[in-house]
């Protein structure tokens, strides 16, 4: 029997908004897939572009950054910087022809438990459609 593909989505979640949003989704008993592997960061701007690339090259099927909505950053401007860096990584991926759909940034506030569950579900479905990340099998990375 063929084993069903379960994506692995490395998720960098900001402590103040998205991680708390994920917590809320949990306490509200909202269902979302186990594909999300959360990593708490102090701010979405803590996510250096190389974190995304390392996760991608190590075989993550998707990489998600969750941060506060623009204007709501706990450190006031962190997420604006995160957005610029993310745009650069996307630009590099597009330029090299890598699958930029495997990277995603989403603004999820601490009160948006349902949004977290929705993003987790939708993104998992998107990644399922894309299939396994070819970097999982490639040993030369």
């Amino acid at each position: 029997m063929k084993k069903e593909f379960t994506p692995r989505i490395t998720s960098f979640l900001c402590k103040w908004c998205s991680y708390t949003g994920a917590d809320l989704a949990g306490t509200a008993r909202l269902q979302y897939p186990t594909s999300i592997i959360p990593i708490q960061v102090m701010c979405s701007s803590r996510v250096d572009p190389v974190f995304l690339i390392k996760a991608f090259l190590s075989g993550s099927d998707g990489v998600l950054i969750g941060g506060c909505h623009p204007g709501d950053c706990h450190y006031e401007t962190g997420n604006y910087h995160a957005r610029r860096r993310f745009a650069i990584v996307m630009g590099v991926f597009d330029s090299l022809g890598l699958e930029s759909q495997r990277l995603k940034l989403s603004w999820i506030s601490a009160s948006e438990g349902p949004k977290f569950a929705r993003v987790a579900n939708e993104y998992t479905e998107e990644i399922m459609a894309l299939g396994e990340n070819p970097t999982r099998k490639s040993i030369f990375l």
Partner: protein, 364 residues
């Protein structure tokens, strides 16, 4: 702003200007390319004694080190220094100034319309002096010498930006027309005061270089198409960077890669047994040294938007990876996200240091 016309070759004219500046005490040091006649090698020289200018070849199409990078620590001294740079070196230096790794304050920057440089391979294996007559003929004609660096052949920014003095080398500078120097700033006027030569109010006319620009743009399209010819994706990435031996030469000669402790050379990349065990448990095999492709992708995201396309990285690569071409192509894309052009304006902030509240509506 005025210009100076001297009845001599462009190279000689610049050397004489440096000599005048040193001898009159207007500058403490000059930085220019030099030819060591004994060993027939070229290098970038930092000169304080004017007699050493006899060996200066300021406009030689050779780049042994990106002068912008070399200037970085020298420029923060209080000494007045005149420096002859290629346009991309000046842009690289401006990028460093933005990163507080240099200062324009005490510098007199002299740059020129650049015809491109020979790869270091050519410099080592061939006699540059013998190549020069043909090279000059080609660039004066607005064409592209085939034996120059690929990034030079495809460079559209061959007219200096922000130089105090612009020297005409390609385009309008016909043999026998003399050396034409355009004084672009008040600083340049001050320094060049009392210097010999005929003054005129002739303005620099970029339209004379239209033919060169068109030829370079056409060449650029070809180069960019060639680095993606086998289709995009992971395979192509492996194909391009798979040969990498992990020497980090490309980043050490890169003027923009300025971090004193590069992440990729930090303890984060000290591979220990748990790293190997973890990796092998997932994949069952590992390429050594690890993370060579990761290194290039990391560099692309960290600084490609500031890449000036000088081509040093490709030149020093021991396994001939077209690093510079990939960086130039990707860099143009990442810089365009922010309407940024590296080295255009020292007041223009690096894209990752600033932000706009309303931008990238598709993200998030």
């Amino acid at each position: 702003m005025s210009s100076i016309i001297i009845d001599t070759s462009a190279s000689r004219g610049v050397t004489e200007l440096l000599r005048f500046l040193l001898e009159s005490g207007k500058i403490d040091a000059a930085i220019t390319m030099r030819n060591d006649p004994e060993n027939n090698t070229y290098d970038l020289g930092l000169i304080t004694d004017a007699s050493n200018l006899d060996e200066a070849v300021p406009l030689i199409p050779v780049m042994t080190v990106n002068a912008g990078q070399a200037l970085s620590s020298i420029s923060i001294s209080r000494k007045k220094i005149a420096v002859v740079l290629k346009p991309c070196e000046l842009r690289a230096f401006v990028e460093l100034v933005k990163r507080e790794k240099g200062s324009l304050e005490n510098l007199l920057t002299i740059s020129y319309t650049c015809g491109g440089v020979f790869p270091l391979d050519t410099v080592i294996t061939e006699q540059i002096e013998e190549l020069l007559p043909k090279y000059k003929k080609i660039i004066l004609n607005g064409e592209i010498p085939v034996n120059t660096r690929d990034t030079c052949r495809t460079c559209e920014h061959f007219i200096p930006m922000n130089a105090d003095i612009t020297v005409s080398v390609i385009g309008e500078c016909k043999p026998g027309a003399g050396c034409v120097m355009y004084l672009n700033t008040e600083k340049a006027e001050d320094f060049a005061e009392d210097f010999a030569g005929e003054r005129s109010d002739r303005k620099f006319d970029p339209s004379a270089l239209k033919k060169t620009l068109d030829a370079r743009l056409a060449e650029k399209e070809k180069l960019f198409a060639s680095i993606t010819k086998d289709g995009p994706g992971l395979d192509r990435l492996l194909d391009t960077f798979g040969k990498c031996v992990g020497c980090h030469g490309c980043s050490s000669v890169c003027p923009i890669c300025y971090c004193l402790l590069c992440d990729f050379e930090s303890a984060n990349f000290d591979y220990n047994l748990p790293y190997f065990e973890e990796h092998l448990s997932r994949k069952g095999a590992l390429r050594l040294p690890p993370d060579t492709i990761f290194f290039h992708l990391g560099r692309l995201t960290h600084m490609s938007f500031s890449c000036v396309g000088c081509g040093m990285c490709s030149d020093v690569c021991p396994v001939d990876i077209p690093v510079a071409a990939v960086f130039k192509k990707t860099g143009e894309k990442t810089a365009a996200l922010f309407d940024y052009l590296p080295g255009r304006d020292v007041e223009e902030s690096i894209p990752v240091m600033v932000y706009k509240e309303e931008e990238f509506p598709d993200i998030g």
